[in-house]
């Protein structure tokens, strides 16, 4: 089931009524059953994976807590890792590994004839796998006590607002929230509703509208002018941001209505002045997960420059691979790894030099930095979006064809103008939000809240694309 579908509207209406009518354990049962229903609506067979993951991690968590034997605890952690990563490896990466191995073998002159399987990628597997892994690792580290109530634990793993595309909510953030009463709260309803509407506006009115242009550019880049490909690349950067952050907004807003607080996942990332900052603003729940469970265990920045760079690169390569079973994702991760290394190596000293020696005004330098980060991010997005390296290469070749860089050679001008109009509107609101904090204002000035929410509904009605298209991050 996806948020931008008619069936979800019906689902959430029924769920809301029942949720606030019930209390205590019956409410917990409702959350659990509704979440499984939500996921099973897509393909009920894959519920088995969630059930197994839940059962294994629930048992492992308790057993790890109850034993003091370090060896046993480690073995139990391994059991959890093997099961969770095993599912991920099989369903997401099996064919990728086979193809890669076969490719290498062919290069060496062998004809391996390896089997490939027609495997369906279970929706959201990367998200809930990382979520449950954080639980077992935290229990292993004794940073978290295990959850003995299996219903609470199963609901934590499967809670529908963030089940398929995050934010990845850590058990240490989620499980304690079951202690609260979650009674109906008007302020939560108002603020949550605002967040949900804002998410729908991002997804339905902007991301899905510009998707038409982006899909055209990437389908046949060789026949398009440099100007059209340029527009396509810029629009993709906003499509992926708004699609994903829109989903996060809806998830955070829904959870808020039902009394749960999810962590923020995006903080206007395209205003970042550096790549370290970018990764503190983009997909925060994943980047902080990778930091805490991969980068820091690898040594972080504690063992000299070389090891820091190595750890950064390894983290970003795996972060790339997390997104999908394709070398283009790995290369996307590699580019971001390089950006982070170069930032430490060149960017920070250069920034200091420009500010102190050349005396470039801070505002101008900030603008240059934001533009540089945005441009380099777009270079990486080209690989992220492309099916293969050939497509990415053609995109860059077309961008270099200056003779065709003309506004006259841009088709679909209406959709493009509409897309950019809405993007500028959104960026304007995001910038203004730094100063005025609209959600807070909606609470303090109810009339402002009512009119601004109504405006969002009008904008969605006027500019929305209602094809019930899936969110991009579902595939990850």
């Amino acid at each position: 089931m996806i948020f931008n579908s008619y069936v979800f509207l019906k689902f959430i209406a029924v769920f809301s009524v029942l949720y606030f009518a019930l209390k205590g354990r019956p409410r917990l049962w409702l959350m659990f059953i509704a979440s499984y229903f939500f996921y099973g609506w897509w393909d009920w067979r894959f519920l088995s994976l969630i059930i197994i993951s839940t059962a294994v991690d629930y048992t492992v968590g308790i057993k790890m807590h109850e034993t003091e034997d370090r060896k046993v605890r480690k073995q139990l952690l391994w059991v959890s890792m093997v099961v969770n990563l095993g599912f991920l490896a099989f369903f997401k990466y099996f064919n990728f590994f086979i193809d890669t191995f076969a490719g290498i073998a062919e290069q060496l002159g062998f004809q391996p004839h390896l089997p490939t399987l027609n495997i369906i990628l279970p929706m959201g597997i990367s998200f809930y796998t990382f979520q449950t892994m954080s639980y077992t690792i935290d229990v292993y580290r004794r940073q978290l006590k295990p959850e003995y109530d299996w219903l609470k634990f199963a609901t934590f793993v499967s809670f529908f607002p963030q089940l398929v595309a995050g934010p990845i909510v850590r058990a240490s953030d989620f499980l304690p929230q079951f202690q609260k009463s979650h009674d109906f709260d008007w302020d939560r309803l108002i603020t949550g509703m605002g967040r949900v509407l804002w998410g729908f506006f991002k997804k339905v009115a902007i991301a899905d509208s510009v998707a038409t242009i982006v899909d055209q550019v990437w389908a046949t880049p060789e026949i398009h002018s440099a100007s059209y490909v340029f527009v396509g690349v810029i629009l993709y950067s906003f499509q992926i941001y708004l699609d994903f952050s829109g989903y996060s907004d809806i998830a955070i807003g829904l959870a808020r209505i039902f009394g749960f607080d999810f962590p923020e996942n995006f903080r206007t990332p395209y205003f970042s002045k550096g790549f370290s900052e970018f990764w503190r603003r983009w997909h925060v729940s994943l980047s902080s997960w990778l930091r805490d469970y991969l980068y820091i265990p690898l040594g972080g920045n504690r063992h000299g420059k070389f090891n820091t760079y190595r750890n950064l690169m390894l983290t970003m390569l795996l972060g790339g691979l997390w997104h999908g079973a394709n070398w283009t994702f790995v290369f996307w991760g590699f580019l971001h790894g390089m950006y982070l290394i170069l930032e430490r190596f060149v960017g920070i000293p250069l920034s200091r030099f420009m500010k102190t020696q050349v005396k470039v005004p801070a505002g101008i330098w900030a603008g240059v930095s934001i533009l540089t980060v945005y441009t380099l991010t777009n270079v990486a997005w080209v690989f992220f979006r492309s099916q293969d390296f050939h497509t990415a290469t053609v995109i860059f070749q077309r961008l270099m064809d200056w003779k065709t860089f003309s506004f006259a050679l841009v088709p679909n001008k209406f959709l493009i103008v509409k897309g950019f109009f809405l993007i500028f509107l959104l960026l304007g609101v995001e910038i203004a939000n730094f100063r005025y904090h609209f959600i807070g204002m909606a609470l303090r000035k109810p009339a402002f809240g009512a009119v601004s929410y109504a405006t969002l509904i009008w904008l969605i009605a006027l500019f929305g694309t209602f094809g019930a298209s899936a969110f991009i991050y579902f595939q990850f």
Partner: protein, 317 residues
Amino acid sequence: MRRRWLWLILFLVAVVAGDRGGAWLLSRQVRDKSQFRYSRLYTGRARADILLVGNSRGLPLFQPYIEEATGRTTLNLSYNGLPNYLAVAFVLDYLDRYPAPERIVYDITICNGGNPPLTIGMGPYAPYSARVDSLIKAVSDQDTTGSYYLAWRGQQLSHLYRYDSEVFLQMLYYLRKTDKYWLLDRVIPSAMVEQLPDFKPLPFDIWPSMMDDLRKMVAAAKARGTEVKFIVGPYFPGYADKLPNLQNLMDTTRQATGLPVYDFSRAMTRPEYFADYQHPNLKGAREYVRLLQERGVLPGKKDRKSGPAPVSSQPIR
């Protein structure tokens, strides 16, 4: 508690009032004032001697060149992906509302299935045309997936949603400028030319209902003394050979309507005349008009001084 109820009422009132008020404003300030073809058609500002009809392949029936070559006023009712049933509805609406045009030039390659999103997108014109309204309803009724039915229901619920389409953006774009010059001004990219041997176009869907619509249109035109000329516009050299049932389409149309079909599908052989495989560009449009006139599809030049005043400048109703 009372304040909360007040808030809820204020919110719902704001949603409904803004929706209705916004839609009313758009209908008055954009739809009815736009120079876009269908806005003019439904607000009495589209009188012409020659109607030009097609999907995107009807756009190269370039009005400025045709008006220059024939000395007659034109109205191009073509639109990207325009389905046959909508095109016929527009023509019949025109015939009902205006003095009979001299001629209708109709590119039959329009007969290629339906286009539910575009049909639904014509929502802003539904209040003007019972035909458009019933077509939108028909599309929603036939929808097996339910999304077009929901779109239709959405249009009943939200009047602003009626403007949620590319058609509305066209209205906005042509708010203060004519749409007569709408045509691709580019030359087919070499990469596309190279891909032609591997390109497999889809066959035409030839449905009996399409031929019924055409028959209806021809009968209505004949009754008003308007001549109908069916054509197949030019394709990029070699492309027409790949169309599996083009000849079948022409034969079926001829049999159904009793009128000849003028075939220009292979008439233009220079690549620089095309924007892509299916669309002549601005340069090609000039040659296209010459060919149309040479074959008698378009009339010869009329001396404007000896004839009546240009009809498009005359007020209607």
